[in-house]
């Protein structure tokens, strides 16, 4: 495109965007219909109160740190590396052992098992062996008779290090002279996509837009700090620590400690948030080891905020070199994307994050020619791993911004550009998987309609303020995907007191898992919700239901519960049939009564039927396992007919006011639209949408872990800035329910998409307000100011990662 054309079209584009209430030109698309529709009568679809809510508002529910004050015999604390990268020459514990109250000091030599952790690669020593790779690596454990003794003991442990050069950034790591942080070097290859011929398509494109994005390191910052207790009674090691996958924590802990699995039990206390931050092990092995060494004693442990931030894995900071090619009419023809991700010191769930990033590189866009390369680069920063969004979040920032830039280049209304390029029913996503039901455009239209229908008058602006609005559209594949085994199991039974018990392995950390399972079970078995108890995430009492992550619990565990409840219902109706001398098909259960479906005279109480069932020797228990298959990709092309079991779509819209002198951003209006298939509990779904959007606002505007030379500069809440009441506007939620034929009652899920959609919506709005598109997160006041004053802050060059296609712009 010639410069003058660009200029004119940019002005037109800005004029089009400047209108605050654009006219809607297209009707809302109709929700698609599916042949399978199960209509709920009972608690499914209702905003029931949280089944664990009462103890939360009373303050009586027990989180990890609440477990031990009356019970703990000993306290443990970890000595952590003060060096980002060093050889561990020795640990002297004599001085520590002389500290009053100190009972023992342990190092890697004392670890009975493999001393290895890591969800995917077992590359992370629990206690450092010879090398420390980040300033959070555990070096020793001190056990004391009080927290103060343990702490004083830690301060007295003497650690001898030989400092090694610090690999502080990805660019450092890629330098030839960089030390190798792992045996195979500093680069971890990820999934690649080769679809069509992106090189040729870019050459032939009318318009090419290229940009480099940099996202930041983010902390989960859940409020419930890591804490818990453990005890070894000579036969069983019982550990009570919050995680996200009790059964996997059990396996990993047993491995690290050298115990048979059946000798380790994980019990999950009330859990205050996770967001991916409890997916790696935290305290489990430290506590377990101390417990093994002191049989019969209850060991307790608790992190401070600083330790929590220094020790735990973080969200990957990702650099994305993104190039899009399109025709003059806006049809996108090609995408070439090179992604470098700061892996930190250890792999954690990084390999899976890189895969998910690659799989979502073009999001809900229809792009026939796509080349994607994703690399993980090890550094001496915190290991990076799971956090809500899991790689798809960072990619959404990029592809949404690219749409804004392309629209600007073409002088098109961004909404029209989206409409032209969003996938529709039957189209392929990045991995080549065809999505049968696509509601991306429906979500976008619903969000726009909600925004435009709001007749509130915006307050007038001061001279130094600018207003803008931005749109994001996203998609997200739920579950582990890529052929990894992914299963949930559940049991639903009637206890001897007539109450129904649902038992699943998933962790409730505030998202509403307990209600989702209880409401489905109550619906299926015709009992009131008040009659249902939920047992969860206790390896002694529950079967494995996979992790509470990947937005999978509703789909996977919801289905497992549905299957189990169906089994139980069949068994109950079987007994009822015998009791009433009719075929079970003629009966139904409603409100804890057996009723006739065709003959109103048929009636019995559920309690009578249960008693009859026990008399006849029935177990009155149903078991469900839900294990759908996804298909691993072709490694050369990254293509798979089914990378993910199902996809979620969403669209957000943000309106911001920017102080263009200070760079401060305030969000004025916000609309979030998600297609959840079916809202099992609408209040919980809205809660996830608002909560996830708020975390996205935090990532967009203010949250950032600052590392300098391998040292975290802000391991506290004074300088790790979280959104407060004042930072979040009223978020209007639009919930679309287009049945997923495979989900329980048609439900898909909700957990991650709201965060994924929020960050790009806010960035797009800032771009609209200030007339320059953001490229680096967070957009704190200084970064916005730098967007407006590019002469004040030169963008760093990254020759080590910049591919040839990064320069293509025409």
């Amino acid at each position: 495109m010639r410069n003058s054309e660009c200029g004119i079209r940019n002005a037109q584009h800005r004029a089009a965007r400047a209108a605050t209430a654009p006219v809607r030109t297209e009707p809302l698309s109709e929700p698609s219909h599916t042949p399978y529709k199960e209509s709920p009568r009972g608690p499914v679809g209702r905003s029931e109160r949280r089944v664990d809510g009462r103890e939360k508002v009373l303050g009586t529910c027990l989180y990890g740190a609440d477990l031990f004050y009356q019970r703990a015999d000993y306290f443990a604390q970890v000595v952590r590396s003060e060096m980002p990268h060093a050889r561990l020459l020795g640990v002297e514990s004599e001085a520590a052992l002389r500290v009053p109250g100190v009972v023992a000091v342990y190092t890697a030599h004392d670890m009975p098992g493999t001393n290895r952790q890591g969800l995917i690669h077992r590359d992370h020593p629990v206690l450092a062996e010879g090398l420390v790779r980040y300033r959070g690596d555990a070096v020793a454990i001190v056990v004391g008779q009080s927290q103060a003794a343990a702490r004083n003991g830690c301060n007295a442990v003497q650690v001898a290090y030989e400092a090694l050069p610090v690999v502080a950034t990805m660019d450092d790591a890629l330098d030839e002279s960089a030390p190798k942080l792992h045996r195979d070097g500093n680069v971890m290859g990820g999934k690649r996509i080769r679809k069509g011929d992106a090189d040729r398509a870019l050459e032939e494109a009318d318009v090419v837009v290229s940009e480099t994005f940099q996202t930041q390191t983010v902390d989960h910052a859940f409020l419930d700090l890591e804490a818990g207790i453990a005890q070894w009674d000579g036969g069983v090691l019982t550990i009570q620590v919050s995680g996200q996958w009790a059964h996997e924590e059990r396996r990993l802990t047993a491995l690290a400690l050298g115990l048979p699995i059946e000798q380790v039990q994980i019990v999950t206390p009330a859990t205050g948030g996770a967001f991916g931050g409890r997916e790696d092990l935290s305290l489990q092995v430290y506590l377990g080891m101390a417990a093994l060494k002191h049989p019969g004693k209850t060991i307790a442990m608790q992190y401070s905020r600083e330790e929590s931030m220094r020790a735990r894995h973080k969200r990957h900071a990702i650099r994305i070199h993104y190039t899009l090619g399109a025709k003059n009419d806006g049809t996108i023809t090609a995408a070439k994307i090179t992604v470098y991700s700061d892996e930190g010191a250890y792999a954690s769930t990084g390999p899976a994050v890189l895969r998910k990033a690659a799989s979502h590189a073009t999001g809900p866009l229809r792009v026939p020619n796509v080349y994607v390369d994703v690399y993980g680069v090890f550094t001496n920063n915190n290991p990076t791993g799971a956090m809500r969004g899991f790689g798809a979040c960072q990619m959404a920032i990029a592809y949404n911004s690219m749409m804004d830039r392309l629209a600007e280049r073409l002088g098109m209304d961004p909404v029209e550009l989206w409409r032209r390029n969003l996938i529709c029913d039957g189209d392929e996503v990045t991995t080549g998987q065809r999505i049968g039901i696509v509601t991306a455009t429906a979500c976008m239209d619903a969000a726009l309609a909600k925004y435009r229908d709001d007749r509130r008058v915006d307050p007038p602006l001061a001279a130094h303020q600018r207003r803008g609005w931005g749109l994001s559209v996203i998609c997200f594949g739920l579950g582990y995907g890529d052929g990894f085994p992914d299963a949930s199991r559940a049991t639903v039974r009637f206890k001897s007191d007539g109450r129904m018990e649902v038992a699943t392995g998933g962790v409730e950390y505030g998202q509403g898992l307990l209600n989702m399972t209880a409401q489905i079970a109550a619906e299926k078995c015709g009992v009131p919700l008040s009659r249902v108890d939920v047992v969860w995430a206790d390896t002694r009492r529950t079967q494995e239901s996979g992790s509470s992550s990947a937005t999978r619990q509703t789909y996977f565990t919801g289905n497992a519960v549905r299957i189990a409840a169906d089994e139980l219902r069949e068994e109950v109706l079987d007994v009822a049939g015998k009791l009433l001398c009719v075929h079970p098909h003629e009966l139904d259960i409603r409100d804890a009564r057996i009723v006739g479906r065709f003959d109103p005279a048929l009636s019995a109480t559920l309690d009578d039927v249960l008693a009859e069932g026990r008399r006849r020797g029935h177990r009155l228990e149903g078991f469900g396992i839900f294990k759908p298959r996804t298909v691993c990709e072709d490694f050369a092309t990254g293509q798979s007919p089914r990378s993910f079991i199902t996809y979620l779509f969403g669209a957000h819209l943000a309106q911001v006011v920017v102080d263009v002198e200070t760079g401060e951003v305030r969000i004025e209006r916000y609309v979030a639209c998600h297609d959840v298939g079916k809202a099992i509990n609408p209040q919980s779904v809205a809660g996830q949408m608002v909560g996830g959007a708020t975390q996205g606002i935090g990532m967009a505007l203010m949250e950032e872990v600052v590392n300098e030379d391998g040292v975290m500069k802000n391991p506290n809440f004074t300088d790790y800035i979280l959104p407060t009441f004042r930072d979040v506007p009223e978020i209007e939620c639009v919930i679309l329910e287009n049945d997923d034929p495979g989900g329980p009652f048609g439900a898909r899920g909700i957990g991650e998409p709201p965060l994924i959609a929020a960050v790009p919506a806010v960035l797009s709005a800032i771009g609209s307000a200030v007339g320059a598109q953001p490229h680096t997160t967070p957009c704190n006041p200084q970064r916005v100011w730098e967007l407006l004053h590019p002469e004040q802050a030169a963008r760093p060059a990254h020759p080590a990662t910049t591919p040839a296609h990064a320069g293509m712009n025409r």
Partner: protein, 279 residues
């Protein structure tokens, strides 16, 4: 040992005797943060929160007289704009209920919001000793270095006083809507006598004034030209650093922005007369 005097004289007696060996404790919002981080506290504390009159605020003889324990909640209600607005940007309600003006002055952080507002009103700090009595230090002489003040180890801050007729304005640049550690904060004060004070936080080792910028406005009044020049000059007087919160370039630019913005705001409100009386 934990001292909990009930009168100011008792408090001064302890202070004179123990000096730096007993940490004065007001709201605790700085001291206990440090304690929580380290895990253990000082050997001795001098708790001032039970001293009669500790949190009082009074207006007498055209002056506001803040007792040492005046909390940010209380100050947030004063009809003194810069001090009230600065106070309301300190933490949340719970912090403001405990945090005191003397604590702000005692910690002497260059980011101390209350200190910046006081600097724009030529506040006078009363330091008292059990037997030597009271001495008044003008706030411009109170901060002597990074987190260092003129307070001697055997003295206590008893009062902060400033004239009630200052017209002031305040702005704090932060990364979010609440509980901000300032990136940069600025307070501007105009007195009926024609004094102009432009005070900054976070752009030097101490809370500071841009004296050359002040002189320009004192000389030429609140004209657009003088305001612009003052903003440019203010940027040359500050000494911000690059740190993990913000860059020096950004902070410096914000000093110019805030000087211009607050002077313009006052100009509009006073009709251009720097010496207009306070509302």
């Amino acid at each position: 040992m934990f001292f909990q005097p009930k009168t100011i004289d008792e408090a001064l007696a302890v202070r004179a005797k123990m000096g730096a060996d007993a940490t004065p404790l007001g709201g605790g919002t700085d001291i206990v943060v440090a304690l929580n981080r380290v895990g253990s506290g000082a050997k001795n504390y001098l708790d001032l929160t039970h001293v009669v009159g500790y949190p009082d605020v009074q207006r007498e003889n055209g002056e506001w007289v803040l007792s040492a324990g005046a909390t940010f909640t209380r100050l947030g209600k004063l009809p003194v704009r810069a001090l009230a607005e600065a106070s309301m940007t300190v933490g949340g309600a719970a912090i403001r209920n405990c945090g005191t003006i003397a604590g702000n002055l005692g910690t002497a952080s260059p980011a101390g919001d209350g200190c910046v507002a006081l600097m724009a009103m030529d506040a006078r700090i009363a330091l008292r000793h059990a037997t030597r009595g009271e001495r008044i230090i003008p706030i411009a002489e109170y901060f002597t270095g990074f987190r260092k003040t003129a307070l001697l180890a055997d003295e206590l801050i008893t009062q902060v006083r400033f004239d009630a007729d200052w017209r002031t304005a305040w702005y704090k640049v932060g990364k979010r809507g609440s509980i901000n550690i300032s990136l940069v904060c600025c307070a501007v004060g105009l007195s009926p006598r024609g004094d102009v004070r432009i005070a900054f936080g976070c752009v030097a080792p101490i809370v500071m004034r841009a004296r050359k910028a002040e002189a320009i406005v004192e000389k030429h009044g609140l004209s657009p030209v003088a305001i612009d020049e003052a903003a440019e000059v203010a940027m040359t007087e500050v000494a911000p650093i690059d740190d993990h919160r913000a860059s020096a370039a950004y902070r410096r630019a914000m000093c110019g922005v805030l000087t211009r913005r607050l002077l313009n705001q006052l100009q509009k409100e006073t009709g251009g007369r720097a010496s207009a009386p306070a509302a």
